[in-house]
């Protein structure tokens, strides 16, 4: 038997041992199934300067980035910097209330064929004038390859 054949046989034995003993424990893809693949990502933001909002008034802002979701799975996280350090997972929309419910922030994310957009509305929920602090809406958008 040539040396290369010996190596192949040894490798085969090693591979079978590894496959039987290790892969089922550590590798979810033991069945050979696919997962989601990281494809593209973008960070983008929009600033909301501090300002007064009249009773029942609202303001809106859009943050956009050229991320085109033509055929993939996506996820967007966003942070209202100035209000919180947390990032929210955007499951369609994110709706939050701040300053004991004085104002409501609702954000939507959507793709329009060329861009990923995060549209945010800040609405005064009181009967008087309130001051909105300086808020930077930081967004993180991710695309994943799905086998569509």
């Amino acid at each position: 038997m040539r040396l290369l054949d010996t190596v192949r046989s040894t490798l085969t034995i090693v591979y079978i041992w590894i496959a039987r003993m290790i892969i089922p424990k550590n590798l979810a893809a033991a069945g050979g199934l696919d997962g989601f693949k990281n494809y593209s990502a973008a960070s983008f933001s929009v600033n909301v300067p501090t300002q007064n909002l009249g009773a029942a008034d609202f303001i809106s802002f859009t943050a956009s980035t050229p991320l085109n979701n033509s055929n993939s799975i996506s996820q967007v996280q966003l942070q209202y910097s100035g209000l919180s350090n947390d990032y929210y997972i955007m499951n369609g929309i994110v709706n939050t209330f701040w300053n004991s419910g004085d104002y409501e922030i609702e954000s939507y994310y959507y793709f329009d064929g060329t861009n990923l957009n995060v549209f945010t509305v800040i609405a005064n929920q009181t009967a008087g004038i309130i001051t909105i602090p300086d808020i930077t809406i930081n967004c993180r958008g991710f695309l994943f390859i799905a086998p569509f």
Binding site: V7, S60, S84, Y87, I89, N91, I93
Partner: protein, 240 residues
């Protein structure tokens, strides 16, 4: 180059699990135009997975013939009148019943600002993922490549679990030191419009103002009310 010493060869075994896609499906259905008095209109489309069980899933939909795709639960606001943006327009969501039937569910809202209602064809695509405790199932045959290829950068699952949601926010520590990606799903005993015990995408809860927050240490799930008994399945990924 010839291999002469087998002891010099190492085989890389991934240390983290990945999502397992056990099937994909594409569908299309019509949703009628809403009126002021009948808003929203709703429509469903069923697909039997053959799993005879719930499973995890993520999907996208289009109402413009495939020009743009959005994730389940998303709305594309109508900003044609900037002073009064229309936020709730048309969306598609879904669930997988305990019997293994995937149901796409669309809602089409009347546009009060522009006094219009439009019928749509909803195109959707959904990928089904195995639960951590998925019973033995037969993956759905597909023409697409569903084989694991190590050349891709797969999302790696750092932690996953199930918990009963309720009462107070649930904090799950990850201690990664950065903000990771997270996916979540949940079952509900509510029973409408979905069948009790169905696996729901998290946009059902997100659309009801129940959020998932992430920082460099923890993932915090809001306490969910109004959905009966809710059990959350979550996955925290190693990927930032």
């Amino acid at each position: 180059m010839s291999v002469t010493d087998a002891t010099k060869i190492n085989m890389a075994i991934p240390g983290y699990k990945i999502d397992q896609i056990i099937g994909i499906h594409s569908g299309s259905f019509l949703i009628a135009a809403p009126t002021f008095l009948s808003s929203p209109t709703t429509a469903t489309d069923n697909f039997t997975t053959g799993f005879n069980d719930t499973c995890l899933f993520q999907g996208i939909f289009s109402v413009d013939g495939g020009t743009s795709w959005n994730d389940f639960g998303s709305y594309k606001p109508n900003l044609s009148t900037p002073a009064q943006p229309v936020l709730q327009t048309v969306t598609c969501q879904g669930w997988v019943t305990p019997a293994g039937v995937f149901q796409a569910y669309a809602q089409n809202f009347y546009d009060n600002v522009h006094a219009t209602g439009t019928a749509y064809t909803v195109d959707y695509k959904v990928a089904f993922l195995a639960k951590d405790d998925q019973n033995a199932i037969t993956p759905i045959p597909t023409n697409e490549i569903l084989n694991y290829l190590s050349s891709f950068n797969y999302q790696k699952i750092f932690a996953s679990d199930t918990f009963a949601n309720g009462g107070s926010p649930t904090v799950v520590a990850h201690n990664l030191g950065y903000v990771p990606k997270v996916r979540a799903w949940g079952t509900s005993t509510l029973g409408s419009p979905f069948i009790s015990g169905s696996m729901l995408s998290y946009d059902w809860f997100g659309g009801s103002n129940f959020n998932v927050k992430i920082d460099t240490t923890n993932v915090t799930f809001d306490a969910i009310t109004g959905y009966g008994t809710v059990n959350i399945d979550y996955r925290i990924y190693l990927d930032s």
